[in-house]
């Protein structure tokens, strides 16, 4: 497969770019924050109208079946304007997990409404703060022909807005995932504001009773699907970081061409020129990393996990570098709330931690490569 976007993917990217930059530029995030809100329901409504929540959902369940490269280009453009939506958490990550793990009945019940955007689901997996699923302690005890779920999940972004929680539990036979309505008895949710003006939810499950039909797949049989889902989450969140890096970089290069100090445009200083050039090269290299990881998901290639972790690790580094350089090269003004560039650094911090940080994916990459 050629490592470029095909015509349809390019069209999708162009239209996402146009739609987001016109309707939900960075000022929309600022307005949301200043009004005390933590999400953008209007954006989600419009994305739903365009069918985007069905991006990776199979045609058979009313999805677009457009694939992960499609999801990635949308996320890249969302990264550029810092648009907030449950696209990644529900339409991409949760839809993937349900598709991989659910039985026919469960898919029928959930996927069409996820694809339409009416229903949102979110993966509640991590308890460690470091996406370490080995440390999952949430239990599902067989009870009355169903299960009683107890435990707690930490830092679930979009967790308090989601209709359905996909809860990873562990027992002796391994991991299992339950799809649980978020308003079920025994669920308590506490949220906290995080640095990019979203909220993360800490969710406690106290003997939450669910029927046997809430279990996706088998108890103990979720590992492979969770692994695929992690690849999806890593690659797609990389695409968002790529967008953040590109946009921060372009704004910074623009500033270098405008700002004067010592009687010259600061962009004439070779010290800054070389750093900008180096960053440009890093971003170009990162583009290839992200696209290859997304394509590998669509092809279900055996290199999928290596590429996904490579992309997440590489993007985490590069987006850190890009947003740091952006603030540094903007100087004092870059530190002010009034100026937008700081928003990119904040969102980048959240994306870098989501679904495993640099160190997590660096370790996974090496382990997969045999060292």
């Amino acid at each position: 497969m050629a490592l470029i976007l095909d015509e349809e993917q390019q069209l999708l990217k162009d239209s996402a770019k146009a739609f987001l930059s016109e309707n939900f530029p960075v000022s929309a995030l600022r307005a949301m924050r200043d009004s005390g809100n933590d999400h953008m329901p209007e954006l989600w409504a419009q994305m739903s109208e365009m069918g985007w929540p069905g991006m990776v959902v199979p045609d058979a369940y009313s999805g677009l079946e457009f694939g992960y490269v499609g999801a990635g280009v949308v996320l890249e453009e969302m990264g550029r304007t810092l648009a907030l939506s449950p696209f990644l958490s529900s339409a991409v990550v949760s839809a993937t997990l349900i598709t991989k793990l659910g039985n026919e009945q469960q898919k029928e019940a959930l996927l069409p409404s996820i694809a339409s955007g009416e229903l949102t689901a979110v993966l509640a997996a991590d308890e460690s703060g470091h996406y370490n699923l080995d440390e999952v302690a949430t239990e599902a005890k067989a009870s009355d022909g169903g299960f009683a779920i107890s435990g707690s999940k930490r830092g679930v972004i979009d967790g308090h807005h989601a209709d359905v929680l996909l809860v990873v539990c562990k027992n002796d036979s391994g991991s299992g995932v339950f799809a649980i309505p978020s308003d079920s008895d025994g669920i308590s949710i506490e949220t906290r504001l995080i640095v990019d003006s979203q909220r993360a939810a800490d969710i406690t499950f106290t003997d939450v009773f669910v029927g046997a039909d809430a279990l996706l797949g088998e108890l103990g049989g979720a590992d492979e699907a969770l692994d695929f889902t992690l690849d999806v989450a890593a690659a797609c969140s990389s695409a968002e970081m790529l967008g953040i890096a590109i946009e921060s970089f372009e704004r910074t290069v623009g500033y270098l061409k405008e700002r004067e100090q010592f009687g010259s445009k600061i962009g004439t200083f070779q010290g800054l020129q070389h750093r900008a050039a180096q960053l440009f090269a890093e971003i170009e290299v990162t583009k290839s990393a992200v696209l290859s990881a997304l394509q590998a998901l669509d092809a279900d290639s055996e290199k999928r996990s290596v590429l996904a972790s490579m992309a997440k690790a590489k993007c985490s580094k590069v987006v850190r570098n890009a947003t740091e350089e952006a603030v540094q090269m903007h100087g004092g003004i870059g530190m002010t709330d009034e100026f937008d560039i700081g928003f990119f650094m904040k969102r980048a911090a959240v994306c870098r931690q989501a679904y495993g940080d640099y160190h997590f994916h660096a370790d996974r990459f090496a382990t997969l490569r045999g060292y």
Partner: protein
């Protein structure tokens, strides 16, 4: 050799008797610092007592001359005082730009009358000072400043504005760089003036930062009258004082990178938070970064020590402030990045309570390599002034 043992014994006894209990507790955050000044509201009786007692002995400024109210201590005595305060965990009684920045410059450049007028109030914390240096269009290029002071015969008339004035909204007086001559190379028409922030025509506007806090202000001067006696040093030669002060500031900011201040060593923090395997931090990639950081941090701490010792021995290289500023601030940024990695998703909390402190410090740290002369400016200084590379 002076006899420090007796001084140590007396100091220990005095501190034991005079340092209030609550001033021996570790500070929970920056909010616990005492800044003094006309508008200051003491947070506890202990805070007030501690400042008054220390100021009376001149120990808020231990090495300043006793004739202006300073402690008049020798280098050795000052070190003993520091050690004894640290032994009981005593807080610094007064945090102040007057102590850290203006005072040393006044002692060097001011007239006897000016010293008498300003220094005692710095020492006892009655006047809180702020620094008027940067302007909206003169960031790294500080000397291009445009705030104007016109000689009106019996006073100067000041018009213009400053930016990045730390705590201008809370300060009583300002030490300020102004342009007194426009018809000469930019470094040669600058003067150093002091004036009351309560003067007519002075206004301030806090700048909200990405961390959500507002430690800095924009400061506006609209026909502010300043008495002629408030000029420090020679007219049009203020750049010399400015440079002296910048050097001090750089060393202060650079010092942020140090582990010293009771922070838990980063690698140990990582190990206790993230767990070990066979005695090694389990996350091997994080371990490698922590090592690289700690090597630099330790070598940097030793460098501060070495430069201090060289200065004492009269071997100063002159290079020190730019190196310390550049290296220390980059190190501190790295420390904050690693702290975020250790914290994981919990570290993203932005709540205004304590839980948001880490991410706010992380954001705040990004300014370290900008304020007080950017890293790029320090590198230029090293390249040109120390290495003698051609322009």
């Amino acid at each position: 050799m002076e006899n420090l043992d007796q001084f140590r014994a007396e100091t220990r006894e005095w501190l034991e008797a005079n340092c209030p209990e609550d001033m021996r507790q570790p500070m929970r955050s920056d909010e616990d610092q005492c800044w003094g000044g006309r508008k200051w509201v003491f947070q506890s009786e202990g805070q007030q007592l501690w400042l008054e007692r220390m100021a009376t002995k001149g120990w808020t400024a231990p090495r300043w001359p006793a004739e202006y109210g300073g402690g008049g201590l020798s280098g050795g005595e000052a070190k003993v005082l520091k050690e004894e305060m640290s032994r009981i965990g005593a807080r610094r009684p007064l945090n102040s730009f007057g102590l850290d920045m203006l005072g040393p410059a006044l002692l060097l450049y001011a007239t006897e009358e000016q010293k008498q007028q300003y220094i005692p109030d710095i020492i006892n914390g009655r006047i809180r000072w702020c620094q008027g240096y940067s302007e909206p269009n003169s960031g790294s290029d500080l000397a291009s400043l445009r705030t104007k002071a016109e000689d009106m015969g019996d006073h100067y008339l000041i018009n213009g504005s400053k930016v990045w004035t730390s705590y201008a909204d809370k300060a009583d007086w300002i030490f300020c760089l102004v342009r007194t001559d426009f018809d000469c190379p930019k470094h040669e028409g600058i003067s150093f003036m002091l004036f009351d922030m309560a003067s007519e025509g002075v206004s301030t506007k806090p700048i909200k930062l990405i961390s959500g806090s507002s430690p800095f202000c924009e400061t506006f001067f609209d026909n502010v009258k300043v008495p002629k006696g408030n000029l420090v040093g020679t007219l049009n030669k203020g750049w010399e004082i400015a440079k002296y002060l910048l050097t001090h500031e750089r060393e202060m900011i650079g010092g942020f990178g140090l582990a010293g201040g009771g922070l838990k060593p980063l690698g140990q923090l990582a190990a206790s938070t993230r767990g070990t395997q066979d005695g090694r931090l389990r996350d091997t990639s994080l371990r490698a970064e922590a090592i690289s950081f700690e090597l630099d941090e330790m070598a940097f701490g030793l460098t501060i020590e070495r430069i201090t010792d060289e200065t004492k021995a009269g071997q100063g290289t002159g290079a020190s402030s730019s190196i310390l500023k550049m290296y220390g601030t980059e190190l501190n940024k790295l420390r904050m990045e690693l702290m975020m990695a250790i914290g994981g998703t919990d570290s993203l909390n932005f709540e205004s309570d304590r839980t948001g402190a880490l991410v706010k410090s992380w954001l705040r740290s990004k300014a370290n390599s900008i304020e007080g002369g950017t890293t790029e400016v320090q590198l230029n200084i090293i390249a040109k002034r120390i290495l003698g590379l051609p322009a």
